[in-house]
Amino acid sequence: MFEFSASALPAVYLFVMAASHSIKRRETVAFYLCISPWIIGFLLFVLGPMLASLWMSFHRWDLLRDPRFIGLANYQRLFREDPLFWQSLRVTLTYTLLYVPTELIGGLVLALLMNQRVRGISIFRTIFYLPSVLAGVAFVVVWMWLLHPEAGLVNAFLGLFGIPGPRWLTDPHTALYALWLMSIWGLGRTAIIYLAGLKDIPLALYEAAAIDGAGQGRSFLSITLPMLTPTIFFNLVLSIISTFQTFTSAFVATNGGPLDSTLFYVLYIYRNAFQTFQMGYASALAWVLFVIILLLTLLVVRSARSWVYYGGGSE
């Protein structure tokens, strides 16, 4: 299919160009051609595989034997017979509830600090952003050492105050919190986006407020926060989506354990697809996740009308 659509492009282009007369139509054609690399990429590598996985979700397929149509049986098994599906959903939701507020508030605090006019501030910005540049696996491994129950720095530090450190990643009660702790290293990424938002707020607003006698707290609440709501909104949406797709930290540090306490949804999909090769079931899981994320995102977008302030005023 793609061979046709892609290799036919030049011919289509010439044909359309010859047929089109008005500048407007020509510009339209140019527009589509200019975005065609993206469109083709999207069709080939995103939409195509998505539709294929939808098809697969109605089949039983271990890759080796031919796929066999089983209707909705995969979805039935998932909702009715699979406790691990519910467990993975529970783990993922808990993590979302922990992580999203942390990222939104922590990232903002970090951004406010990074927005100070201090000598060498760019060095601090670099330091705080650095972990986001590191490869995920490398930084998880570093954290595994930090959180090592006997030899780790974190427990050694707690020991200084006579606090017996928990067994972090090997205790089902603490493993998810340990992963949450690790994720705080990623705050720099959110903070950079906030920082851009902060830089976007016109100084004139602060000056006017200062003339009217507003203190720092007042201008933060009445200027910074409202002007920042579009950035908060953006970070909120991205943060929810990314927590639902958490994989690397759990895969590397705990492999979903102990006792499935860090069995993230995407890790469970991965296991079904690439460890036990149940492609159909894994596809069904993936589609359920897609629908959940879609609904949550729609909910957030819908709510945005009541709390996100866009400079141009409402339409």
């Binding site: 793609f2 061979e3 892609a6 290799s7 492009l9 030049p10 282009y13 160009m17 020509r26 140019a30 051609l33 200019c34 065609s36 690399p37 083709i40 990429g41 080939l44 039983r60 271990d62 890759l63 080796l64 034997r65 066999r68 098994r77 017979e81 691990l84 595994m144 090592h148 129950p149 006997e150 030899a151 067994r167 990643l169 090997t170 205790d171 089902p172 590397v252 540090a253 705990t254 492999n255 354990g257 102990p258 006792l259 499935d260 690439f274 460890q275 036990t276 090769f277 149940q278």
Partner: protein, 445 residues
Amino acid sequence: MKRGNRRRQYLLPVLASALLLVLAACAAPVQETGDVAAEGGPSGGQIVLRVGTGDSGEGLKPHQEIIRRFEAANPDIKVQLEPVSGSDYYARLLTQIVADDAPDIMNIGDDAVPQFVAAEAFLPLDDFIAGDDSLDTSVYLPGLLEPGQWDGRQWFLPKDYSPLGVYYNKKIFDEYGVAYPEAGWTWDDLVAIAGELTKDTDGDGTTDLWGIQLPGPWTTGFEYWVAAAGGSLISEDGSTFIGYMDSPETTAAVQFYQDLYQTYKVAPLPADMSAFGGGNSEFDNGQAAMRIFGRWPQSGMLENPNIDLGVVGTPADAVDANVLFWGGFGIYSGTEYPEAAWRFLKFYAGPEGAEVWQDWALPAVASVAEEAGLNDDPIEGAWLGELDRLVPRAYVFTPYWGQAADPALRRVLETVILDPGADAAELTAAAAQEAQAALETAQEE
């Protein structure tokens, strides 16, 4: 004119990028098919055989050395090694098999044998073994052909293997005047020795020296404990876990494992739960007197200044038992060159290849091990001696082991390691039910 220019300004980058994309999307995987002659009559051309392996890094050296020797002796065949490292290896092979583009020779681990054979991805080797270019399979050490068999036929030849063994650090034993464990020892001996060598050396109330480092919730390794207790995890017809995974023998094995961690407290808790307890470093640091595991980390231990290494077979309880971990080579059922592939396979996994393997792993061929004096070596001899004590692993009774039973057993082990109050009998009973339900779901075909 001007308008035309502008049009060209768009046109060129757009066409170029579209073209690039098409090229990228359509580029077929690179194959050296150009110089391949028809099999049997290589008239100046060479047959190119592709070999897939999950080894990587240093582990590729023996492959390359064997290939070099083979090519020197067989100028009509060129062998191309295709390594895929890590856990992606099977996923890669499966997609290649689906696309009918798999390597001619593939390296498979023991518990993947049933699945790949059931999918008809490999050629049976019996006709080759008995054919014109025959192979004497009696050259192999005991227990090494069986993992490559399925449904009464031979599908794979052995590449490398390891039973379990108990490493011990003579330095620690000598320091505390404890006798080394000897072949024929039992679980009671294990508890006694490990107890003697578990010590709080600085008197701060925490253990500084451990009796034995165990491989945590490593399910395949745990099959040894079940077998030694006289149990098995699944019925021999592969139909049920009930009465097996929850049998008194299996429960006793779970109980003993729990006791080592929680009652006798002679084993350090796992430092991570991810890979077979590999996160523990007590033995390497000289803080554990013994460690039960496969032969894989041995070369590092021999160079470790903290360790004066000894190896002994696994202790027996009700039954004298050990389990084998095994990798083998087979021929892809879609190969264009079965005869050439067999010629290489015979070399790769036969006496010639074993000459090279012996520098990297235990050789599979008895005469090679004999000539190298491995049987008389106190360490390698201990490993080789274990081949006489093997019991079959659970995967040979059902192709759904990994999918159905492994997660249930893993949960049992994680629970008993972490929770001193957990009841082994309740856990095994629940695990047998869970595994059975999963097995029945998997079998609904």
